[in-house]
Symmetry: C2
Subunit: 280 residues, 2 copies
């Protein structure tokens, strides 16, 4: 299969490396950064550079771009993709992408599949891309009534071939609602956590729990602002939920109600244990 | 040195094992659970069992008990400790302990030092105790005007001898204020996090960020209720702080103000980076 990757950042670059490591597919790429292309060529991560006008030669086009550029690139180049070919995106939100590009691409005889390779690092860019980023990761596919089942099968097989541990199906809306909880809320909470006036008083007091709670506060604010803005309502709902829950602990403390506090902690402990069980 | 440990739970048991591994001190113990004593004896973690009436034979008594039992045991046995000997506690809050026991013990010619070995696991009890629990941990000492400097020096040397990475001094109040942020708030937030209705919809969507944010929700509610209730105001202040910060992100999302959201995320990222730097 001939694969084109548009955007060789952390995800696009890691996908290119994973394809090269695990398959015989050829990989060509397009990136606005000349140094990235030079590095990818010299490391033999890609077989060559292409322009958008050459996309019709490729069986699969992978978009490794932020959300807005993903939509723009699809719509701007709608006649350049191979008829009958597959186009996938890699954005962390899905409704805002799928709803804008799937139908126009279908009308142009291009089989689009909304995808989210669930992996990341605390660093951005091709320089941090690695060939095993996806080894224990889920590859989420968000088909709709407009999605070609043949393309879902091909993309699913492709994801397993390049090393993903699991392929998961969900509607775009279901994906966005769950991702607001499992990933987006974690980044918001972590970012809020470090804003206590106590942050710089803690030398020697820093426990593992603090490190865990604040690790993802070190985020790429450009990308996450875009992801959050395109998934506003599910994320607002999750933030409201955790604020309300936090307020319950505060209220119990203010009322000196240790029985209530004990019950709140016990509920959380049991939920965590059940959730660990259900994820086994 | 002859050391007595009162309460061979996770901390008391791990201290006993660390002492045996790293020093020539003899270790005797007292525990209300017969199986624990039997196990500790058969594993040669302790040299023998004692009763409270024998405490006067020991140069150092380590209390591995929850907060309320720590205070009760000290006051109930105030005349049993060796005159001139050292008594330390191991509770995760300090003001409530130190303010109640240090002066009475001093009046009985016993040198008390409030201590907090900053380590833990997601499991409780002697069965989970390990001899290297403290290898990268801080040992916090909270001296007051009533604390004997000689005891602070002895306890500090003892902590280094049994493998702690660092000994840190703070007043009991300073300890409680910082611990409310670095440890207690982390447990409250983690406990609140898992209470979203989305918790059980996430099979395949669970990212590393979710696992990090929720790890410590699996807590011992008996111990943490006690620790939280004895540190109410600093913890209430930290919960209020993170609720207010979370509300800022929510407000930006509701207002569709991406510039403001970007700024909030950037502030968090910079604070996290600076805090990483300051902890190096």
């Amino acid at each position: 299969m001939k694969i084109a990757i548009v955007g060789l950042g952390l995800i696009g670059g890691s996908l290119a490396k994973a394809i090269k490591k695990n398959t015989e597919h050829s990989v060509y790429a397009l990136d606005i950064d000349r140094e990235t292309i030079t590095a990818a060529l010299s490391q033999e991560v890609i077989d060559g550079e292409i322009t958008a006008s050459e996309l019709s030669r490729f069986d699969m086009v992978i978009l490794g771009l932020y959300p807005e550029p993903t939509v723009k690139f699809c719509l701007d180049n709608i006649q350049s993709f191979k008829k009958g070919g597959v186009v996938i995106d890699t954005c962390g939100i899905k409704s805002a992408i799928v709803s804008q590009v799937e139908k126009p691409l279908k009308d142009a005889d291009v089989r689009f599949v909304g995808c989210h390779p669930m992996a990341g690092r605390e660093f951005s860019g091709f320089g941090y891309s690695i060939d095993n980023l996806f080894e224990r990761a889920s590859f989420i596919i968000t088909p709709t009534d407009d999605t070609a089942m043949s393309a879902v099968r091909e993309v699913s097989q492709f994801a397993y071939d390049i090393g993903f541990a699991k392929v998961v199906m969900a509607s775009p809306e279901e994906h966005d609602r769950v991702i607001a909880f499992t990933s987006q809320l974690a980044h918001i909470v972590s970012s809020a956590y470090v804003k206590s006036p106590s942050l710089f008083d803690q030398a020697g007091f820093s426990a593992g729990s603090f490190r865990d709670l604040t690790r993802v506060a070190k985020l790429n604010e450009d990308m996450w602002t875009s992801l959050f803005m395109l998934n506003r309502q599910p994320l607002i709902d999750e933030i409201s939920c955790i604020i309300d829950r936090l307020d319950e602990y505060r209220t119990a403390l203010e009322a000196q109600d240790s029985a209530r506090l004990h019950e709140l902690l016990k509920q959380g402990r049991i939920l965590k244990e059940k959730s660990n069980e259900s994820l086994k």
